[in-house]
């Protein structure tokens, strides 16, 4: 194990890799027998990339994200995060995780929710305040510090949860369908803000979605996955410019990439019953 980590460190430095998965596989033991959630995943995510994972439900995209976060243990292959094992990376607080729902604590004000990870890390009160202020600014929630979650709309709650993931300033942001439960208009708005935030902070983002336009609009790279067993069927480099206004989604270039994603999904039998 130590060997693998050391080797991974060596290669990581060369390639500037944040996440490196080799022949990664995960089999869940369920009551109906084993289920292969991930099979033979080889993927390198480099610093500063915005990588989307797209595929139908059951393709293992969320599972892969959870493996990175040390919320699931792989049963085959290796994975390293910044040259560390997922567990070490978690202990080093190497990533922030945004869940499908905002998952704010209802008994905490927004600022105290954002400050939760900072309390757990044990930063000084002054440092906590400074970081809370900075991240609340970043997600445009200034003025809502003293509100409770139920007083905010769904979109604002999800922004608060992003602020919470950003608060302790990890370089890697893992986002699991964060806008899946929001309506189209709010979603467009948040997509725009997320892109701006990504450019400002220069973070590496892994983003799980099942929306093709969302994946194409946000990503520098799109990983297409397919189910039974969950595997990577295509990896698409985006040719879109870094500056992306919302109406870029009507451009021929955008549509061409979207078509390729759809082809990738079809090739993985994602449209079959």
């Amino acid at each position: 194990m130590l060997m693998t980590v050391n080797q991974a460190t060596a290669t990581s430095v060369e390639r500037n890799a944040v996440v490196e998965a080799r022949q990664l596989g995960l089999t869940f033991q369920t009551n109906d027998g084993p289920v292969r959630a991930l099979s033979d995943v080889n993927l390198t995510i480099n610093k500063g990339e915005f990588v989307s994972f797209i595929g139908p439900s059951g393709c293992g995209k969320t599972t892969f994200l959870r493996v990175i976060a040390d919320l699931e243990q792989p049963t085959e292959g290796t994975i390293s995060i910044n040259g560390m094992t997922p567990e070490q990376a978690r202990q080093a607080r190497a990533y922030g995780y945004v869940f499908q729902a905002a998952a704010l604590f209802p008994w905490r004000t927004i600022e105290n929710n954002v400050g939760l990870p900072l309390e757990i890390i044990g930063l000084s009160k002054a440092e906590q305040q400074a970081r809370i202020k900075r991240t609340m600014d970043l997600v445009n929630l200034t003025g809502f510090e003293k509100k409770y979650p139920w007083q905010l709309s769904g979109g604002m709650q999800q922004r608060a949860s992003i602020a919470r993931a950003l608060a302790f300033d990890a370089d890697l942001l893992l986002m699991d369908e964060p806008f899946g439960a929001l309506d189209e208009i709010v979603r467009d708005h948040l997509n725009e803000q997320l892109l701006r935030l990504w450019r400002q902070t220069n973070k590496t983002i892994c983003f799980v979605t099942h929306s093709i336009p969302e994946a194409v609009y946000l990503s520098t790279r799109i990983v297409v996955m397919s189910p039974r067993p969950g595997r990577v069927t295509d990896v698409i480099e985006s040719t879109l410019p870094a500056e992306r206004p919302l109406d870029i989604r009507e451009s021929p270039e955008f549509l061409a990439i979207a078509a390729r994603v759809r082809d990738g999904l079809r090739a993985g039998h994602s449209y079959e019953d």
Binding site: D70, R93, W107, L116
Partner: protein, 292 residues
């Protein structure tokens, strides 16, 4: 105005039905004895007079509401609170052991719940015993507790309070186990991604999430505590307390006194439940609860 229509009116309507039924029942229950009295005295009263007599017996089988109300009023407001006839005095005696037992019971319940949630061995072994403890009739256990404790020199308030504890730890333990396990998986995963320690997860997530469960079970527990305190007074030969008052009333067929003591007991119970509910709402509000 809405409050009057939606809350007060329905409650008052039910109260009136109960009082009416009570009067009818009192007449029915007291009639045989009254007929007996009249026969011996050679009286033949009219219906209205007869009903009036059944409702004003000094030691009726079933006291009428106004008799109980009058007795309750006299013994609550017209006596010195230090008088042995004052219901305030007896309520206070019972209340003090109720509160002590309730405090013990809540603490014990929380402690047990924390143990069950954190120690797998306790989780597997303790629950059946806790449930079994509540199937034993408290009336059978109470005298034994009193006798055993008296034998080792513990008398007075504590034995009575322990019977309250016995009844009140149960709802708190069950409620808190549920409450401490109420955080959903996403919140627990979130704490895991922060590499939060067990105690951080406990204090920052499990405890605040369990607060609504705590107050819901404390409402049940405080009422059970009062029952425990009253039951605890019966076998101890206690000279004071609502239980003692009930027992004395039954020795001397002072049915009106007994009913007045019962009313005092239910008033205390209602006040305690309302008080716990009120504190619960205050805490909920301070924790950002949405005003209902």
């Amino acid at each position: 105005m809405d409050r009057l229509r939606d809350r007060v009116f329905p409650v008052v309507a039910i109260l009136l039905v109960i009082v009416a039924a009570w009067y009818a029942f009192a007449v029915y229950m007291n009639a045989p004895f009254q007929r007996d009295l009249d026969r011996r005295a050679g009286l033949t009263p009219g219906t209205v007079e007869f009903i009036g007599k059944t409702l004003s017996q000094p030691k009726p089988t079933m006291p009428a509401p106004h008799q109980v109300a009058q007795n309750f009023f006299e013994n609550t407001f017209l006596r010195k609170v230090t008088s042995a006839r004052s219901l305030v005095y007896h309520s206070w005696v019972t209340l003090s052991s109720t509160l002590l037992g309730f405090t013990f019971g809540t603490a014990l319940g929380i402690l047990i719940a924390v143990g069950i949630v954190h120690v797998i061995a306790l989780d597997r072994s303790l629950m059946p015993w806790i449930i079994a403890s509540q199937t034993i009739p408290i009336l059978a256990v109470a005298p034994m507790i009193i006798v055993v404790l008296a034998a080792i020199g513990v008398t007075g308030l504590i034995p009575k309070a322990l019977i309250s504890t016995y009844l009140s730890f149960f709802p708190v333990a069950v409620g808190m186990v549920k409450g401490l396990r109420s955080p959903d998986l996403m919140h627990l995963d979130l704490m895991h991604t922060y590499n939060a320690s067990k105690s951080q997860t406990f204090w920052k997530l499990r405890v605040p999430a369990s607060v609504p469960f705590l107050f819901a079970s404390m409402k049940v527990a405080v009422a059970a505590s009062l029952v425990g305190a009253i039951v605890g007074e019966l076998p101890t030969g206690a000279v004071a307390g609502i239980g003692a008052k009930l027992l004395a009333g039954s020795y001397y067929s002072q049915t009106i006194d007994m009913w007045a003591a019962l009313v005092a007991g239910s008033v205390v119970a209602a006040l305690l439940v309302v008080l716990v509910g009120f504190v619960g709402r205050l805490v909920e509000r301070s924790m950002g609860g949405r005003p209902a």
